[in-house]
């Protein structure tokens, strides 16, 4: 039986880890049972160091809610993911900003959420 990549990913999140996969030396994200392009089924899991750079950013405005940042972050290991950059006003998030992972713990309703904060290396 194949364990679902999503459940493995969520398991890592629950331990405070951001996991991704590697295939023939190339990072793969989102996690899959078959590697893109090569078709390999031998994907290896890795844990990211959690440091990256903002690739693109937007601020979502919903009625009755504070502005919410949504960003695409390029992790240093070479994969990209959607996330949020927090700890500063949503409008102040800039492309090129260096960011570091912070895990928001999960609960019965939702898995842990990997978000990012700016940091100076």
């Amino acid at each position: 039986m194949t364990t679902s990549p999503l459940s493995i990913y969520h398991g890592h999140l629950a331990r405070g880890e951001l996991a991704y996969q590697v295939d023939e030396g190339r990072p793969v994200f989102f996690p899959r049972v078959v590697a893109p392009e090569t078709g390999n089924t031998s994907l290896q899991w890795r844990v990211s160091k959690g440091q990256g750079t903002v690739y693109a950013t937007t601020v979502v405005y919903r009625k009755g809610e504070p502005p919410l940042n949504v960003a695409l972050v390029d992790l240093d290991e070479g994969f990209r993911m959607m996330s949020r950059v927090e700890s500063l006003p949503a409008e102040a998030v800039k492309i090129g900003m260096r960011v570091r992972l912070r895990m928001i713990p999960g609960d019965a309703q939702a898995p842990a959420l990997p978000v990012f904060d700016p940091f100076e290396p």
Binding site: F30, V59, V60, R62, M82
Partner: protein, 384 residues
């Protein structure tokens, strides 16, 4: 050298269904059928002539079956390709192949949506995506906003330049009696409108209205005997890339680069030959990206290209003369209506918004989040 062949198929009938806010209780399939009757009337063919059926709607999972049942058709060929707003350009491409192969002779492409009446959330709920939805993007707007942010960062594109696209669309819409929007719009108004997903305000976003359309295609030979001058299908190109915005390799380059190159090569034409463009304007960033990717300006220059009313009436290039998804009609998957306008421009039927000598028009469809791209070149009988 070009490898153009004699166009094998032509568009002979086009129509819109009721648009905007349709009568209570009308279904998406009612609108498909209504537009079909009007498109058949446009060309003088009868329902029983239709032997190829193509349709898609976010609200109808099994389009060809549902529409065949409704219309009492037993099509020899059918296709329900669903790649979002570009679906209908792909239908046209597949209809061309089917007609060339003799698998059908008269193809109907149809679309209907009641997303204003039933709410957009009900009409097209997002696919589950555990790697994006937990961060609460406002999809699809946030995906296009992310692309716009990247374009602004890489090329210095400004919010004012984005707003130019909305203002041009509005100016065209004021010349189109069928357009939803009836009031003038200025750049300042676009910038000061309610922010949806920075840098896009509500005026940078397409309308959320009801609507539908239909198109009839047949062989070039049969097209000559019908009611109106045939509009030739000169070339088509299809491309798909990513599905979710997180997986788009470069947010400033869309698969329109491939679809456009294919369409131009198959037509034996170049951008300079095109008199009018229907570019899927789901958000103001999209025509900017497509002008670049289809070869009308260099990559990164799209924002500067649209400045100073360049794509508005009287500008250097006629884009979205019906008012587009921004100001005319956007029922969720606008591609078919984009083609209807291009066909009418080639026919010379567009009245106050008619582009002079419009012998070649381009219609470009976009689906999901810059994911599917399909380009069609239409031409009058004068184009050989």
């Amino acid at each position: 050298m070009t490898q153009r062949k004699t166009p094998s198929v032509a568009v002979v009938g086009v129509a819109e269904s009721d648009l905007g806010e349709v009568a209570a209780g009308l279904s998406p399939v009612d609108l498909m059928a209504q537009a079909t009757a009007r498109a058949l009337d446009d060309c003088g063919l009868r329902l029983r002539d239709v032997d190829g059926l193509f349709c898609a709607s976010a609200q109808v999972r099994f389009g060809p079956m549902v529409l065949a049942e409704y219309l009492g058709l037993r099509p020899r060929y059918f296709d329900g390709t669903q790649v979002g707003g570009a679906s209908f350009m792909t239908h046209l491409a597949h209809a061309q192949l089917a007609i060339e192969q003799g698998w059908c002779e008269v193809a109907l492409i149809a679309y209907g949506s009641t997303q204003r009446s039933v709410s957009r959330a009900a009409a097209s709920p997002p696919d589950p995506n555990p790697y994006e939805l937990p961060f609460r993007p406002l999809l699809p707007a946030s995906a296009y906003a992310l692309a716009a942010s990247r374009h602004m960062h890489a090329f210095g594109t400004t919010r004012e330049q984005l707003a130019e696209v909305a203002v041009a669309a509005r100016q065209w819409a004021l010349r189109n009696p069928a357009a939803w929007e009836k009031e003038p719009l200025g750049i300042r108004q676009v910038l000061d409108s309610r922010m949806v997903s920075w840098p896009l305000t509500v005026r940078d976003c397409c309308l959320v209205v009801d609507g539908g359309g239909a198109m009839i295609l047949t062989s070039a030979a049969r097209a000559r005997s019908l009611r109106k001058p045939p509009v030739q299908v000169l070339g088509v190109g299809e491309a798909i890339g990513h599905s979710s915005i997180s997986n788009m390799p470069d947010l400033t380059v869309t698969p329109a680069r491939e679809s456009g190159a294919l369409a131009f090569r198959r037509a034996g034409l170049a951008p300079a030959d095109v008199r009018m463009l229907s570019l899927y304007d789901a958000f103001t960033i999209t025509p900017i990206l497509f002008l670049e990717d289809l070869g009308f300006c260099p990559k990164g220059e799209g924002g500067r290209f649209v400045q100073d009313g360049a794509i508005a009436p009287g500008g250097r290039l006629a884009v979205n003369t019906n008012g587009g998804g921004l100001s005319y009609c956007h029922p969720g998957m606008y591609g078919l209506l984009a083609m209807v306008e291009a066909v009418r421009q080639v026919r010379g039927e567009c009245g106050a918004r008619q582009v002079p000598d419009c012998d070649v028009a381009l219609a470009h469809g976009n689906g999901a989040v810059l994911s599917s791209q399909c380009t069609v070149l239409f031409g009058s009988a004068a184009v050989r």
